[in-house]
């Protein structure tokens, strides 16, 4: 995301300026060492550390919007980098014995930087707690970004499977019921045909928000595939799951989604099904849920 990096242009500029100033000061006062005097191990160690600190700074700034926590982290890492940078310069420039400020320049920024960094990480922790609340119903106790859906801000089927497995163990241990609810849009294909696939994607995104609103705090919503969603309901028996499923179905039916192009209302309908976990693994439970959904979707096809 180049836009995020652009936000932090000033910070990089300041760091560049400071590093240059350090270099100029050293060159002004000291003499260059000959190649024979270079200590390669030190150069590699100190140079490598400085380079890594710079890489961390780049990655953090690239992934974070501007703000207080970002400033703290950037300032901290900036100081750490500066300290290692000055340390590295010593390897190339011999300073006269009478000069002491270079020791200050080398040693002072490090503790200051580490304190700032610690302070920043502490606030980052609080920030993450706040974000986790926003991710409620989408993520439970385990994070793997490779299992995030690419289109919709939800976990994928793989994430769901893993969560079901964890929750099955937990529910057995605590002797509590566990249920799944599946929600599937009817005629999603014809909606795609009529309004275009971009509109179809927008419907799925709107639907995600709607379903999240209608779930409880402890529930988890994932996208199984296509237009099919599955909610994991811990501590929920079959009748309660059925009631929640019905409420979700009604919510979808009364959603007034407006198309992006002409603003006309798209009438959505969904089929729902639920399954309570028995003595089985995640795969069987999901398969059973899916069969229940197929029955709910096509009562006629099966009797034929």
């Amino acid at each position: 995301m180049p836009t995020l990096l652009r936000l932090h242009r000033l910070k990089f500029l300041a760091l560049l300026l400071a590093a240059n100033l350090g270099l100029l000061l050293h060159l002004a006062v000291g003499d260059l060492k000959g190649i024979t005097e270079w200590v390669w191990l030190d150069i590699l160690g100190e140079g490598g550390s400085a380079f890594l600190a710079l890489a961390w700074l780049g990655l953090i700034l690239k992934s974070r919007p501007a703000g207080r926590v970002t400033n703290l982290l950037a300032l901290g890492l900036g100081c750490v980098f500066f300290s290692w940078w000055i340390d590295l310069l010593d390897e190339f420039v011999r300073m006269p014995e009478s000069i002491v400020w270079d020791h200050w320049l080398e040693s002072l920024p490090m503790p200051v930087g580490l304190v700032l960094l610690t302070w920043g990480i502490y606030h980052w922790h609080h920030e993450q707690l706040a974000i986790s609340v926003q991710l409620e119903k989408r993520e439970r106790l385990f994070r793997e970004h490779r299992q995030f859906d690419k289109l919709i801000p939800l976990g994928t089927a793989d994430y769901l499977r893993r969560q079901i497995e964890l929750e099955l163990v937990e529910s057995r241990r605590q002797q509590r019921p566990l249920s799944l609810v599946a929600i599937d849009l009817d005629d999603f294909d014809s909606l795609n045909q009529r309004f275009g696939h971009a509109e179809g994607d927008a419907v799925l995104q709107a639907l995600t928000q709607l379903l999240l609103l209608n779930l409880r705090r402890q529930d988890l919503l994932c996208r199984l595939a296509g237009d099919r969603f599955v909610a994991l309901l811990p501590d929920t028996g079959e009748s309660q799951a059925r009631q929640i499923a019905e409420e979700l179905r009604l919510a979808v039916a009364s959603l007034a989604h407006r198309s992006r192009q002409h603003g006309e209302r798209l009438q959505l309908r969904a089929s729902v099904a639920c399954a309570m976990a028995l003595e089985e693994d995640a795969e069987t439970l999901l398969a059973r849920l899916n069969q229940a959904l197929e029955r709910a979707k096509r009562p006629l096809a099966l009797s034929a």
Binding site: A157, D189, N192, L224, A225, R228, N290, Q291, A301
Partner: protein, 344 residues
């Protein structure tokens, strides 16, 4: 005896780039993928495709598919692609499909116009008293893209039948591949009647579904469109791929267990040339012959209810034991297990 010497090969430039390949390109562009990355190694530019005259070879199309899969990096790519393929934008051929009187007519057109509608994977339609079977055969040496093509083609036919017929049909799916990790994609985009690790890639449907009339059928317009599509087919290098043509020739002569030399003669080339051409398509003569014998065996089991002895003698094996051993080599399954799998 030679057959008509017209077929297309892996490097024949016959696929109109602004038709099927463009569907895949649009899908990728819609997901924010850079067109230069997508077309890397394909040897064409997006601007050339937009000009509307460019034709690419199966090899280039396969490369494009490989790039798209890698860049989309999603389990549902093949299904999303497939759902947009049929009736599609292939001019008269698509129009003929869209105006067909019923599914049976549409599937017959799909098979006849396969070089236009599904150039990489050849469909074959077989009927018995109860069911219609649509099987899929690698036409150009798809290699690691085969699963993608199968998923896309099956999704395409299922989506077309639902779109044009207006209802869900009780499709059954047989696939040679093992049960995939992303099984939920199959559930959602195809259906739940799925059978993996079988002897063939096949769709099955109760026969009466073929004749239910489609609401938007237009007999006269459909006939004209079909005629125009046939003209377009004649303008191609051939109405079927080399592998596909060889397959059909072998089907006719399978009981004579024809040698490579005889096949080469029928195709008007030297045995060495045929060998080389098959190698270019990542295959060999023995593999093609075995594939056809397997198809015939399955057909005889399923449609005629033959037993092992009858199939063995039909295919001119010395005895049933010999046949069983060969069958196991072809599929990794015993004949009875395979029969069980497709009969269920």
């Amino acid at each position: 005896m030679t057959i008509a010497r017209r077929w297309y090969e892996r490097d024949s430039r016959l696929i109109a780039a602004h038709q099927q390949p463009a569907v895949l390109i649009d899908l990728c562009l819609g997901r924010g993928i850079n067109s230069h990355k997508l077309l890397r190694g394909v040897g064409v530019f997006h601007e050339d495709i937009l000009a509307g005259q460019l034709r690419i070879s199966p090899e280039q199309y396969l490369r494009l598919i490989g790039n798209a899969r890698q860049l989309l990096d999603a389990d549902d790519s093949a299904f999303l692609f497939g759902q947009r393929l049929l009736p599609g934008h292939q001019g008269a051929a698509s129009q003929a499909l869209a105006l067909a009187a019923n599914l049976g007519e549409a599937l017959a057109l799909l098979v006849e116009l396969r070089a236009l509608l599904t150039p990489l994977l050849a469909p074959r339609l077989v009927l018995d008293a109860d069911y219609a079977y649509l099987s899929w055969h690698d036409a150009c040496g798809a290699g690691e893209q085969l699963d993608f093509l199968l998923e896309a083609s099956m999704a395409a036919v299922v989506a077309m039948s639902r779109r044009l017929g207006g209802e869900h049909l009780p499709w059954r799916f047989h696939l040679r591949r093992a049960r995939p990790r992303q099984i939920e994609q199959y559930w959602v985009h195809l259906g739940e009647d799925l059978h993996f690790a079988g002897p063939c890639d096949l769709l099955r449907l109760p026969r009466e579904c073929l004749t239910q009339p489609w609401p938007q059928a237009a007999q006269t317009a459909a006939a004209v469109a079909a005629r125009q599509a046939r003209e377009a087919l004649c303008a191609l290098e051939g109405p079927a791929s080399l592998l596909d043509s060889l397959n059909r020739w072998l089907l006719r002569h399978v009981r004579e267990a024809p040698s490579l030399e005889r096949a080469a003669e029928a195709f008007g080339m030297s045995p060495a040339t045929l060998k080389r051409k098959l190698k270019k398509h990542h295959s060999s003569y023995q593999e093609q012959l075995d594939r056809v014998r397997l198809d015939v065996a399955l057909y005889l089991y399923q449609v005629h209810g033959f037993g092992n002895d009858q199939v063995a003698s039909h295919l001119r094996f010395h005895d049933a034991t010999n046949f069983r051993r060969s069958f196991k080599r072809w599929t990794g399954l015993s004949p009875s297990a395979a029969r069980e799998l497709i009969r269920v």
